[in-house]
Amino acid sequence: MSPTDLAVKEQQAAPNTQRVVNDFSIQIATVNGSGSQTANMVLLRSVLLMGVPVSGKNMFPSNIAGLPTWYTIRASKRHYIARKKEVDFLVAMNPETAKEDVLTLEPGSAVVYDEPLKLNTLRNDLVFYPVPFDTLVKPVCPDAKLRRLVRNMIYPGILAKLLGIDPVLMEKALAKQLGKKAKAVVLNAGALKAGFEYAEATFKKQDPYFIEPMNETAGKILIEGNAAAAIGCMMAGVTVVAWYPITPSSSLCESLIGYLKKYRIDKETGKATFAVVQAEDEIASLGMVIGASWAGARSMTATAGPGISLMGEFAGLAYYAETPAVIFDVQRVGPSTGLPTRTAQGDLIQAAFLSHGDTKHIMLIPCSVEESYTMAMQAFDLAEQFQTPIFVMMDLDLGMNNWMSDAFTYPTTPINRGKMLTAEKLKELGSWGRYRDVDGDGIPYRTIPGDGLPAYFTRGSGHNDRGQYSERPDDYVENMDRLARKFETAREHVPAPVVQNNPKAKIGLIGFGTSHFATEESRDQLVEEFKVETSYFRLRAYPFNNQLAAFIDAHERIYVIEQNRDAQMRQLMKLELTPEQQTKLRSVLHYNGLPIDARSITDDVLAQEGFEVAKKTAARVSAGTAGGE
């Protein structure tokens, strides 16, 4: 079956006569800095409150105001929360992009637009709903200065009516969004109402899209991955945070600051059980984290690719001097400054081998907001257990988009501070050497300044197992071999993969991070539309454990799904797999800066499986052409 057939099929499946319920995507095209963000969040949450699984993706430019932004809201009764490539319902508010936005729509889609744009003249295979926003906003918002912002709260009202979203729930969503700002609530509620009533009075429903109440979202939360990770850091007992602002990681530290101020101030003294420093740059950030960890604090920083590239020297010091450090890399599109507001998984190799000499690092790779929360906690434990930097590899899609999730559960275990020397242990050991491997796992015992236990001299230069300066070849080799041993030990301690073995499957998919949700959806497409059965192996950390080899052995062909150009994870695998295993590896690569979607994976896999579908590149470029996609 070819994708053209497929396209046709889809279309027939949704002729304007037949209702499409809780399974479509809405795209709102606006200008950034126009306050549309609030309107979009209200729309998003109102769908959630309707009990319908929902997700939102923000495609915004790398400037502060005045450039095109697209926000996509996807309602999915089947709980698909990955990006959906096709837009079913467009809200066109931005004159600059309106034309291209409309022209790239699938036939049968619906368009709410700002009347003066006259978009209805562009095509006749779409449903158009023109709205005179400027006229509507005047009575609602007497204060002309505020209109620009309030204006955008009209379209949620319009959509509430057209899609059948309960206006009461939408007002509830609005209240939630604006919190205490009473005046703002009144103003915007007015705008919602105006929109709703205008639609009621003016439009006859012609499109097939409906939101109908479900009971699928009880207790669910909406949260960005960065905020989720921040909560994890706080629960891990982080005490020292050093950071330097950079998109898309800034909001991780900024939300952390918010939580810490709220929950980590000593009642009695009013003093902080944490220290957060906005450092002068990323080099200083990591330096502070290393100094703090060395002195016994649980310490972290968060950055993006450019920051990682600056941290090379310090990362090598932490590896070799064996100080803990937690580093969040919220990945964006590189190389260099690249596309700062687009998503990618392109820093894997750089992080894994960050710094010169024989340096290697541990990476954790959360796929969801929930894992952002749990892995943040694990990262601090692992950093202290292994006395080495832990890189938590998130990405912009995960970190800055709003994800629906179950509420997070409170940690049931205490934290693990690793091998801290104690007076008892010292007595038991008799003598202590900072870099001595007494347990055979490559992990030595450490002391911290002020603990009254034996002090040692920490250095990035050659040292023996007592931490003394040494240029002796034997000391160097023994220490390096121990470090390699320590890295081996890590394999079985990092988060294990999540494996879904499908006995009927010849094909195995390997995904990680935010590719997860698109992958799950793609698996459904593959089996439902093409009877292609797949197993699924979700990687959660580097170095890999032995389950990877087992999974590959159990399948004929393996597709490694990544959001980068160079198949970086597959390359890391090649370094460890047997040749037989490697022959099975194929790549599904998506790297245009937009979150990966199920259809792109499906098409790519099908093409490589020999199904008659358009070339991969074609697919990629098509994913490309609409800047507004």
Partner: protein, 342 residues
């Protein structure tokens, strides 16, 4: 200065304050500074188990291995000691931090972190062992090399030097001094006073490199330093635990009371000098260097500005060892957050 007794006020012997055998050149100024540090910490009765020694990379940065052998030390990477020291102090505010850097480590690759360290007034004693060159890489000019200073190879420096003291004052350091590794008395007084100051202490200590920069034509040689040293005052430091009363003819000296109650008695020399006057301190530095000399002594002091940790309002105990009960909020907190997200 009282010569070391058998044990100091906390009952420790001088031996405990010593470090490993130096691997620096015989006669290197850095070794003399290490000795003064040993004296100061011994005489002030500082508990070595609460001290952290920090450094970057360079001959100077090697020296923390040669004093206070029973204290923790961290020989970090080139020019980045300030950030590592900042982290350590954030983790444990009870620590006493002493950072040793070189003029290359500070003035070249490290000038950025230096600038920001000075701004924060972090409690740390930051010492630049200043020889105007990169000793460990065999004597290239550093950014503190003076205009016209000549290398053995004959190369002449034609870039203006960075005056680390003027810079530190400009940026907000609260205790800024300059001395010379050969001036035992002045250096020891400054070091002991440093231990009584709460905030950033920046000491630029001219410390000749006998191997690469001690020749005729160098402005950082022993000979040049001796001839062009221009003390701004005569310093007597009286620690809080000694109540010696020194009295000078009224007006002939100034008394500064330090954070811990210790006193600095500054006897005026020919020219009047007030180290608490920021603008004039800068002026004096500029005028002296214009004459090809360098002002030494306590150049500037601001005894009671809040230090960085006070500004951050952290709890009194070391963050590093807070129990989980104080660093992990309870289930109700998480529930409250979750509710806010529904």
């Amino acid at each position: 200065m009282a010569t070391p007794l058998k044990v100091n006020r906390i009952g420790l012997e001088p031996q405990i304050y010593k470090g490993g055998k130096t691997t620096l050149c015989a006669g290197c100024g850095h070794n003399a500074i290490s000795e003064r540090i040993i004296d100061a910490f011994y005489e002030m009765g500082v508990d070595p188990s609460q001290v952290v020694k920090l450094s970057g990379i360079g001959c100077s940065s090697k020296s923390p291995a040669y004093f206070l052998g029973s204290s923790h030390g961290f020989n970090a990477v080139h020019g980045r000691m300030p950030s590592v020291g900042t982290g350590a102090m954030l983790a444990n505010k009870k620590l006493i931090a002493i950072g040793i850097s070189g003029d290359g480590d500070t003035g070249a690759i490290g000038i950025g972190q230096f600038v920001h360290l000075m701004r924060r007034n972090l409690p740390i004693i930051y010492i630049i062992e200043d020889n105007g060159c990169y000793g460990l890489t065999k004597g290239q000019f550093s950014p503190t090399a003076d205009l016209g200073s000549r290398l053995k190879t004959g190369v002449v420096n034609d870039l203006p030097p960075i005056d680390t003291c003027a810079l530190a004052i400009e940026l907000g350091a609260t205790f800024v001094g300059r001395s010379f590794s050969g001036d035992k008395k002045q250096l020891l007084s400054l070091l002991k006073a440093s231990l009584s100051h709460r905030g950033t202490v920046m000491l630029d200590v001219i410390s000749p490199c006998v191997t690469f920069n001690d020749h005729e034509g160098s402005t950082k040689s022993y000979a040049y330093a001796k001839d062009h040293d221009d003390p701004v005052e005569d310093i007597t430091f009286v620690p809080f635990f000694e109540d010696i009363s020194v009295d000078y003819a009224p007006g002939s000296s100034q008394e500064v009371t330090m954070h811990d109650g210790s006193k600095l008695l500054l006897k005026k020399l020919e020219e009047d000098y007030d180290p608490t006057d920021r603008i004039n301190a800068m002026k004096r530095l500029h005028e002296t260097s214009r004459r090809g000399e360098f002002a030494t002594g306590l150049i500037y002091i601001e005894p009671d500005r809040d230090d960085f940790l006070t500004q951050l309002n952290v709890v009194d105990e070391p963050l590093a060892t807070l129990p989980l009960s104080r660093t992990r909020p309870g289930p109700e907190a998480l529930e409250e957050i979750m509710e806010g997200l529904r």
